[in-house]
C-alpha cells in the first residue's frame, strides 16, 4: 500500500514527512507487538524451563536452596533415570496410551 502511494506523490516534501511519521509509527507498533509477544512467550516458557531443569539435574540440586537460576547446571540425567526406573512408570504409560 505504502509503495504505491510513494511512487505517485514522492515530490511533495510535506507528504514525505507524513510518510516518515507513518513509517516510524508502524515500526514502533511492530516493535511493541514483538515485545508483547516475547513477554508472553517468556511467561509461558519460564515455568517449563524451571520444571525441565529440575527434571534434568541431580537430586541434590532439586532440594538445594537457593536454586541456580541458570537452568540445567549441573546437567544430569540422574533424576530422569530414577523416574524412568521407578516402578509403575511403564504400566502407567501403557495405560495412558490405551485410554487415549
Amino acid at each position: 500500500m505504502t509503495t504505491a502511494v510513494e511512487a505517485k506523490v514522492s515530490v511533495s516534501p510535506e507528504v514525505k514527512a507524513v510518510h516518515r511519521r507513518m513509517r516510524r509509527r508502524q515500526a514502533l507498533a511492530r516493535g511493541l507487538t514483538y515485545l508483547v509477544g516475547i513477554l508472553i512467550s517468556l511467561w509461558v516458557l519460564i515455568p517449563i524451563i524451571f520444571i525441565a531443569s529440575m527434571a534434568l539435574t541431580t537430586p541434590a540440586m532439586v532440594r538445594a536452596y537457593p536454586k541456580s537460576i541458570l537452568p540445567f547446571i549441573p546437567f544430569s540425567t540422574a533424576t530422569m533415570e530414577f523416574f524412568l526406573n521407578s516402578r509403575g512408570i511403564l504400566p502407567g504409560i501403557r495405560n495412558s496410551v490405551v485410554v487415549a
Partner: protein, 397 residues
C-alpha cells in the same frame, strides 16, 4: 417398606452373595465352613457350620483356613454339642454333632449375606417378609432395625441437605466463585492480546502461536507441580527474590497461614494453563473476520483501540461466547491444581469436595450431590451467557 421405617427382626438366614457386593454399607456377611471331623462315636462326619463356631488354627499360603477346632459353647443351659448341618443353613438337617475342642478339617468356605425376616408398618398395614441385611441398619439389641436404603429408588433431599450443611460446602463454593471471577477476565484479555499478536502477520509470529499453545499440552496436575516448584518454600520465586535482594530469607507461601498466597498461586497456575484454549478459539474467530473490514478501518484512521473495541470485539462475540461457556464450565471443575498447591485442605473447591466425599468419607450420595451441584452451576452459567449475548444482539438490531 419406605426408607426410615422401623422394623422388628423376627428371624435371620444366610444367602449366597457375590464377593463384589461385600463392601456395601450395612451388609452383614457370614462365613460358613464345610468341615470334616471325627465325632465322639469315632465316626467320620462332614457338614456345614458357621464360621463363629470354629477357631481357625492353620491357614494355607493364600490365607484360606484349612484346619481348626470347635469353640466351646458358653452358658449353662446351652447345648454343649455343635451341630453340623447338611447345608450352609441352620434350618437344614443336622448331620452330626461335635464336642468343643474337636479338631476339624476345613474343606470349603462360603460367604453368605444375612437376610432378615422383618416386620414393619407401611401405609397403616403390617407387612412381613425377608430382606437383605444391606437394606437394614440394626439398632441396639439387634431385634429392631431401620430400613436404610432400598433398590427401588425413592426421592430424598437428605444428601443435598447434608452437602449444604457440610462445613466445607460454603468455603468450597466461595473459593470456586472467587477463582472464576479472578481467572476469567484476566484470561480473556490475555488471550485476545495473544491472538492479536499472532494475527499481526509479523515475520516469525507463527512461532508465537506454537509457544503460546504449549501450555495447552500440559496436564493440569503437571501444571500444579510446576507452580508448586515455583511457590514452595525453597522454590524458584524465593530464589529469584533473594537473588535480587528483595527478601533475606525464604518466605513460606503455601501454608495455612497464607491462604491468599495459595489463591494467588492457583490463579496464576490456572491463567497460565488454560489461557491458550481461549486463545485458540479467539484466533479461529479472528481468522473469520474479513481482512477488508480491518483494512477499511485502518484506512479511515481508526486506532488500535478503536479497531478492537468497535470491530474486532463485536465480530468476535460468537467465539468469545463459546470460549466463555467452555472456560466457566472448566473453572467449576478446577481440581488437580488446587490439590497440588493446597493439599486440598486449606483451600478447597467444589470438585475437591466431591472427591473427598467419594473417596475419603465414602459418602457416595453426598459426592453425587456435589457433582450434580457442579453440573447445575455449569448449566446455569451456560444458559446465562447464551441469554446475555442474545439480548445484546436483539438490542443491536
Amino acid at each position: 417398606l419406605p426408607r426410615g421405617t422401623t422394623v422388628s427382626i423376627l428371624d435371620r438366614e444366610g444367602n449366597f452373595v457375590s464377593p463384589e457386593e461385600l463392601g456395601l454399607t450395612n451388609l452383614i456377611a457370614e462365613d460358613w465352613f464345610r468341615v470334616r471331623a471325627v465325632d465322639s462315636d469315632g465316626q467320620e462326619i462332614e457338614g456345614w457350620t458357621p464360621e463363629r463356631r470354629v477357631r481357625v488354627r492353620e491357614t494355607d499360603d493364600a490365607g484360606a483356613p484349612f484346619s481348626g477346632t470347635i469353640r466351646p459353647i458358653l452358658g449353662a443351659d446351652a447345648d454343649p454339642l455343635t451341630p453340623l448341618y447338611a447345608e450352609a443353613d441352620d434350618d437344614s438337617q443336622v448331620v452330626g454333632r461335635l464336642e468343643s475342642q474337636d479338631p476339624v478339617q476345613i474343606q470349603e468356605v462360603v460367604t453368605l449375606e444375612l437376610w432378615f425376616l422383618v416386620q414393619g408398618q407401611s401405609e397403616g398395614e403390617t407387612v412381613e417378609g425377608w430382606t437383605q441385611s444391606r437394606f437394614v441398619r440394626l439398632l441396639g439389641d439387634q431385634t429392631q432395625g431401620r430400613i436404610e436404603q432400598g433398590n427401588t429408588g425413592q426421592f430424598t433431599t437428605r444428601y443435598v441437605e447434608r452437602m449444604v450443611s457440610d462445613r466445607f460446602f460454603m468455603p468450597a463454593l466461595r473459593t470456586t466463585m472467587l477463582l472464576i471471577v479472578m481467572i476469567i477476565p484476566v484470561q480473556f484479555v490475555l488471550a485476545i492480546i495473544m491472538a492479536l499478536v499472532i494475527q499481526a502477520n509479523l515475520k516469525g509470529s507463527g512461532v508465537f502461536l506454537y509457544i503460546f499453545a504449549i501450555a495447552l499440552g500440559v496436564s493440569d496436575l503437571a501444571v500444579g507441580i510446576v507452580w508448586y516448584s515455583i511457590f514452595t518454600h525453597f522454590g524458584y520465586l524465593n530464589t529469584i527474590l533473594q537473588g535480587i535482594g528483595v527478601i533475606n530469607a525464604p518466605v513460606t507461601y503455601l501454608s495455612a497461614a497464607s491462604r491468599h498466597w495459595i489463591i494467588i498461586a492457583i490463579w496464576l497456575a490456572e491463567v497460565w494453563r488454560s489461557t491458550s484454549i481461549v486463545m485458540v478459539i479467539v484466533v479461529a474467530g479472528l481468522q473469520a473476520i474479513s481482512r477488508e473490514v480491518l483494512e477499511a478501518s485502518e484506512v479511515f484512521g481508526a486506532s488500535l483501540w478503536q479497531r478492537v473495541r468497535y470491530i474486532i470485539l463485536p465480530l468476535l462475540r460468537p467465539s468469545l461466547q463459546v470460549a466463555l461457556i467452555l472456560r466457566t464450565i472448566l473453572a467449576f471443575q478446577v481440581f488437580a491444581v488446587v490439590i497440588v498447591l493446597s493439599g486440598g485442605d486449606v483451600v478447597t473447591v467444589l470438585a475437591n469436595e466431591t472427591y473427598r466425599q467419594y473417596y475419603d468419607l465414602r459418602n457416595f450420595n453426598v459426592a453425587a450431590a456435589y457433582a450434580s451441584f457442579i453440573l447445575l452451576l455449569s448449566l446455569v452459567s451456560a444458559f446465562f451467557y447464551l441469554q446475555a449475548v442474545r439480548t445484546q444482539e436483539e438490542a443491536v438490531t
